[in-house]
């Protein structure tokens, strides 16, 4: 997760979203009334809290887990959740587990001139201070989106951890061009 230059960048993964299916229908009310840390709003799906991960459960058996900080943790949490559902008496299987989204933050050791950065990377980058303080840079090939803040902070979203790291590597030289050294 180091960039090509001599500076080491720490990419901190803040959220991993994953989905899986249980291949059976779930009675949400049962889960809500028999589980400890469960919130059930009948109008919507349903939320079940676990240590570390939060899962949204639908009666169709599809489950979305959020809040993990690594892919392994997401999987572990998902499996634990499936086990809990098994204990509740559902014939739960564990299928189609997939990490769908990863959110990471990363901080550059310099400030960035957003206007120059947007100018240099015209069609891909867009900076609208009226709408959002960050410049948005979308890497189509990686399906990753990078939000560049003037302070040098980056927010990266991508389909998996690897793409996120690649995206940071990809964008680093571009940011390096538009850097503004901080005055100490």
């Amino acid at each position: 997760m180091e960039s090509s230059n001599d500076v080491a960048l720490d990419i901190i993964i803040t959220n991993v979203v994953a989905v899986f299916r249980t291949r059976c229908h779930l009675n949400l009310r049962t889960i809500a009334l028999e589980g400890v840390n469960v919130i059930y709003k009948p109008e919507y799906g349903k939320v079940l809290m676990k240590p570390r991960i939060t899962a949204s459960i639908w009666s169709s058996g599809k489950i979305i887990c959020t809040g993990a900080t690594s892919e392994e943790e997401a999987k572990q949490g998902a499996r634990r959740l499936a086990r809990t559902l098994q204990k509740l008496g559902f014939k739960v299987r564990f299928a189609d587990f997939k990490v769908v989204n990863v959110l990471a933050v990363c901080s550059m050791p310099f400030a960035i001139r957003l206007i120059d950065f947007t100018k240099n990377n015209r069609p891909i980058a867009s900076y609208e201070p009226e709408l959002h303080p960050a410049a948005t840079y979308r890497i189509k090939t990686l399906k990753a989106t990078v939000q560049v803040f003037s302070t040098g902070s980056l927010t990266v979203t991508g389909p998996n951890v690897q793409t996120v790291a690649t995206a940071v590597e990809h964008i680093y030289p571009l940011l390096f061009e538009c850097q503004k050294p901080l005055c100490k």
Partner: protein
Amino acid sequence: MSSRVCKNCGGTDIDVDQARGDAVCIGCGSVLEDNIIVSEVQFMETGGGGSSAVGQFVAGDASGKNPMFGEGFYTGVGRESRAQTLQNGRRQINTLGHQLQLNQHCLDTAFNFYKMAVGKHLTRGRRVPHVVAACLYLVCRTEGTPHMLLDLSDILQVNVYVLGRTFLVLAKELCINAPAIDPCLYIPRFAHLLEFGEKNHEVSMTALRLLQRMKRDWMHTGRRPSGLCGAALLVAARMHEFRRTIKEIISVVKVCEATLKKRLNEFEDTPTSKLTIDEFMRVDLDQECDPPSFIEGQRKKKLKLLEEELQKKIGDVQEEIHEYQDEIEMELEQCRPKLRGMYASYAKTDTQEEADDDDVSLPDWGEEEEEEEELKAVAQHINKDLVISGEEGDRGEQEKTPRQGPSLASLLGPMPTAASLGLPESISKCIGETNEDDEDTENGELDLSGIDDDEIELYLLNDREVKVKTQLWLKQNADYLKEQKEKEERIAKEKELGIYKEKKPKRPGSRKRAPIHANTADEAIEKMLEQKKISTKINYDILKELNNKPSTSPARQTAGSPNGATAGALRPTGPYRRPTPAPLSLGTPLSSLGKRLRPFISAQPAKKLALDQAAKPPLVAAAEQRDSVLVESGPVVYDEVGDEEEEDEDEPCVSAMQLLGGNEYGCDDDDGF
């Protein structure tokens, strides 16, 4: 005309009369061309005495096709939908543009953007006002007019971010690189609204100068320009001795008070703010600042670091304390080893120990004085038994584990959720180590490795708790449940009355037809016909019958066309039929035809049948005599007639038309004959 040469004499003197539309060679007099399409405008007088141009307006970008030719009286009727869309857009652009006080040039540019958007199909799935607003804003950006997206959203009453999204898509798709917003643009506009009177110019100049300074101090990146303008204007106004409150500024620049205050605070942090007014006007500091949010971040980081250090130091001290405490306890244990039961001894000596402990400053122990003494004894016992690691965290945890039992029990009665809140925290700490990486085969079976079942049991409530939670839940969602019940009742009632319409989402792809498997084309068609009926007008039974004897049909055809004699023999049916409707069509008006037809129809079949039957036998006989192949043709024809008559009986009206049609064919045949 010099380019043209007469075909006959080779002369170049050719007279072209635009009005008549012909070209005549002057030399030999031959007409070289006539019916030239003229490019002249003609006018005609209208009924009211005015005159109008003949023809229709075709826009340059419209396609050549013009569907309405004869009745082009109503302008707009014959136009294409594209043109209509554009005109609609133009109208909206104009109204919106005038509200923003944009000049005509901007409006035209915006309309061009709109045209491009329509051409690229960017209007699809977006509301016209949104696209129009985005186009206008695009112009504002490219032309540098002092308009914000917020103004547009104000007029349209649409969320800014919705407009922003549309704008971004449009800018991207149309490849328009709008320059980044310069907050300086807005200063004159806001200054005007704040009514500085004569000093307007001076105030705005000061504000501009302030803004430039802020830009150099990195205050503008990632910030809304309006907020920055507000701060600059406020300071500038005060500098020129105008009383403008924050509220006044806010109402003009449309930002939140907190935002404005934050900007002011940030400006306060820059070195420029330390200058006097005079100095500020004269001196330009070379120095630049880091972005304020970055400084804020750094400060937070530093604070955190400090805190950590502090924590560490406290930890060290506490460690020391623990060591002492453990030593004391060791001593104490050695003092009273030969006593009877363990617990009893603890219960007795507890008071002394507690005093000791409190002296050694263990504050969290002091808090628990209300707790039962036995529990404490147990806790201490465990604490001591374990190897003395001296870590505070460990200690806290171990304290917690024995304490769980009673506290849970006491809490669960009134409020199980409270227990649930306390539980996961402690558990998650305990099972931190169980998180190991393990690969499970993706076969749908749940891999149980690394999952602690006991822990999971803790997430499930017992019967009593379930009951309590059910009650709570039912109470909480009483409204929803009631609604649901009412809905069900209503549906049931409607079902009873028979007016209930089930809402089934009809998907076009949901009813899939089984693919047709057939060996021959005939079979395939038959199967296809079974699946879907092509028309309700077709009598499918007869179609089947036709299909059943396909061998006869070619024979009939051969009988019909090549053999002149049989054709002649068959003919009589034509003339026989013909006279019946003929007088009808001649004498009667069309409207009464239907009524008059009916008696004919009812009378006709019998009559025709008789005629046909009379005609057929000799026909067949004649055919038999001539050609043996034709033997089959006779009955086939007969059958067909019979079929027709069946249809006649079924639907008199349709058959009448058929008869008429048949008659016409007969006529044609006769003509051809």
